[in-house]
């Protein structure tokens, strides 16, 4: 895909920036939430919430700074939107899987 001739990336500043800002944040919160559940100590480990909050900007800015690598803004929204949605679905079903209330 990356080798195709038409693969030159388009700037699409506004749509990509919005994808990075909004979807990036949504994805970052979901990743942090999945780590909160599945990571060491689970959801109830004392003071782990502080760590979970602190790493959100790390995930967020990683996604946001790499979003400009998408070929177009539309692709950024589609791919990142799908990943974000999937992450939130995973987060939503996690309590059932882990059998937690």
């Amino acid at each position: 895909m990356a080798k195709s001739k038409a693969a030159t990336i388009q700037p699409d500043w506004i749509s990509k920036t919005l994808a990075g800002a909004l979807l990036g944040l949504g994805l970052a919160v979901a990743i942090s939430g999945l780590f909160a559940w599945w990571g060491p100590g689970g959801l109830d480990a004392p003071n782990k919430v502080q760590f979970n909050m602190w790493v959100i900007p790390l995930y967020w800015m990683t996604v946001w700074s790499l979003v400009y690598l998408f070929r177009t803004g539309l692709r950024a929204w589609l791919v990142l939107g799908a990943v974000t949605a999937a992450a939130h679905v995973a987060l939503f079903v996690t309590p059932q899987i882990l059998g937690a209330s």
Partner: protein
């Protein structure tokens, strides 16, 4: 690496850097100063706190007598274990406990005289060190709500800053190996500035990433916690409250344990912890707690220079060890490390100086970044063969950069000196703020009026002289005690004067070198301010005009 990626990320780097650069310059310069907030606070405190200090066994009677005589102290007070220029008395409380944190403080101090009688008086603190810290946190952007408005702005600036860091790295990747750490000092000044910008940027990359990410958290943590609460924790509380327990004694002043007993108990549990202050919170209430702040050079600490232990002042039971250095649980340990990385509160004074250097190096990155943008614009115009007259917005950007950067540097220094010479003429808070903003805004205006070239030389020289007023003030106050200014002669405060002297001399040297470029450098630059430019479209190299 593909050219289109480089091009995209170069644009990203240019604009994020340009927008964030000036605010970051101010925040980094003031931040470098806050590394020595303690000495700055002692430096700025007027002398006159010659108060009787008390022995350890007098701590308890002092507390009990103060609580009996001054009900406001029951809201909370601080017991200082060591004297210092900026410590008004062994026991200090706020006479206006309802005040918001934006109202002026009304600190009172209490001590015991030789006969064991209570002596209380209001005393003067200096807002200066705290205002420099505020400048660091807000870049001087005024306004406040629940948080300082400038803190939110700096959070947004830090998002741009993080994008600028990553995009800058992407742009450098293709030439990373070839050009790594090379600074080419040739005739091409732009190449030299770019190399310097890259070297400093690359070598301090982890530091800058850490600063950018922590500032985003400092600004937006409430929203991030809310997001976690809504999507993850749901009805679970995010933070456990300390369990309220029946301690079996009434919370009245007579039952307070002697502070030295609490410290002895703490010592057995945390031998390396060196206590500095004991903050009694609501000492006569059901939730009475004493927070013992102190240092531990072996461990990273949660505060800007302090770790904390919480104790019950009636039972000497350790309540929370979350922030007691070396006794945290693993998650808190990680979070504390992140705090400490931002504050540079590990490794003692050596690490503080490293952070000062990193802060100033950061300020250089932002300043040079803006200058490079200006330089790049210039070259584009030459290729097109247009007039050598520089474009208006390029000149304006150059002027703004020069005015904002050097205006803040000069403003801090002059407000420090004004705080001493004009002491007592108006409320200290207003005095410092007026002096800073007056110098800052005047400098910005000056830069626009004089143009970037002349403005840079004059403002850098002005900033140098401004910093020299600091040691000159100390010298005059020492020679002529009758002047309103004062000098604190302990090593810590004197180091402030010494550093200011060094800063002043370095800035004057910088002004001299900038002048050389501005008046004798290439004529087709926004920086050129010498005689009538020689218009020569074919020039390829930047030529030195014969002196």
């Amino acid at each position: 690496m593909r050219a289109d990626i480089i091009k995209t990320y170069k644009t990203l780097h240019t604009w994020t850097g340009l927008i964030a650069g000036m605010a970051l310059f101010i925040a980094f310069f003031a931040g470098a100063m806050t590394m020595f907030k303690g000495p700055l606070d002692r430096w700025a405190t007027p002398p006159g706190n010659d108060i009787q200090w008390v022995a350890e066994d007098q701590w308890l009677p002092l507390m009990q007598q103060t609580l009996a005589a001054h009900p406001a102290a029951a809201k909370g007070f601080t017991l200082h274990l060591q004297p210092g220029e900026n410590v008004g008395a062994p026991l200090v409380w706020d006479a206006n406990p309802e005040r918001s944190r934006f109202d002026p403080q009304e600190p009172w101090g209490a001590t015991l005289n030789e006969r064991g009688e209570l002596v209380t008086a209001p005393f003067e603190t200096s807002p200066m060190a705290n205002l420099i810290d505020m400048l660091h946190q807000t870049a001087g952007i005024p306004g406040n709500g629940h948080h300082l408005f400038g803190v939110y702005v700096m959070g947004a600036v830090s998002i741009l800053y993080a994008l600028a860091i990553v995009s800058g790295l992407v742009v450098l990747l293709p030439t990373l190996v070839k050009d790594f750490l090379i600074v080419r000092r040739g005739k091409n000044l732009k190449r030299f500035w770019l190399d310097a910008h890259n070297v400093v940027g690359l070598t301090s990359l982890p530091f800058h990433l850490m600063i950018a990410l922590t500032v985003i958290v400092f600004a937006f943590h409430d929203f991030l916690y809310d997001a976690l609460s809504v999507t993850v924790y749901k009805e679970r509380p995010l933070f456990e409250m300390h369990e309220h327990h029946d301690r079996g004694v009434d919370t009245v002043a007579e039952n307070l344990l002697p502070p030295e007993a609490l410290l002895a108990n703490l010592k057995t549990q945390a031998p390396d912890f060196v206590p500095r202050e004991m903050m009694y919170m609501g000492p006569l209430g059901e939730r009475a707690e004493v927070r013992i702040a102190g240092e531990n050079l072996e461990h990273m600490v949660r505060g800007a220079d302090r770790g904390f232990a919480a104790m019950d002042p009636y039972t000497a039971e350790l309540e929370g060890t979350e922030y007691l250095p070396g006794q945290e649980d693993p998650w808190t340990e990680i979070v504390i490390s992140i705090f400490a990385l931002h504050f540079g509160s590990y490794g003692g004074d050596f690490m503080r100086w490293v952070y000062v250097f990193m802060g100033l190096a950061g300020a250089f990155i932002f300043y040079s970044g803006n200058l490079l943008w200006v330089e790049t614009r210039r070259r584009k115009q030459r290729r097109n063969g247009g007039p050598v007259e520089q474009k208006r917005n390029t000149r304006l950007m150059a002027s703004a950069t020069v005015g904002v950067c050097w205006g803040s540097v000069a403003g801090i220094a002059l407000s420090m000196s004004a705080g001493k010479w004009l002491h007592g003429t108006m409320a200290a808070d207003s005095l410092y703020l007026w002096a800073y903003y007056l110098v800052f805004l005047a400098s910005v205006g000056w830069a626009f009026w004089r143009g970037p070239g002349r403005g840079a030389v004059e403002l850098i020289a002005f900033a140098g002289l401004a910093w020299l007023t600091v040691p000159m003030t100390a010298l005059l106050a020492w020679l002529i005690p009758a002047v309103p200014a004062w000098v604190q002669t302990a090593p810590g405060p004197l180091a402030v004067d010494g550093s200011a002297l060094l800063a002043g001399l370095l800035l004057l040297e910088m002004a001299r070198r900038t002048a050389k470029r501005v008046f004798h450098g290439s004529t087709d630059s926004v920086w050129y301010a010498g005689a009538q430019p020689i218009v020569d479209e074919q020039a390829v190299d930047i030529r030195e005009k014969p002196a």
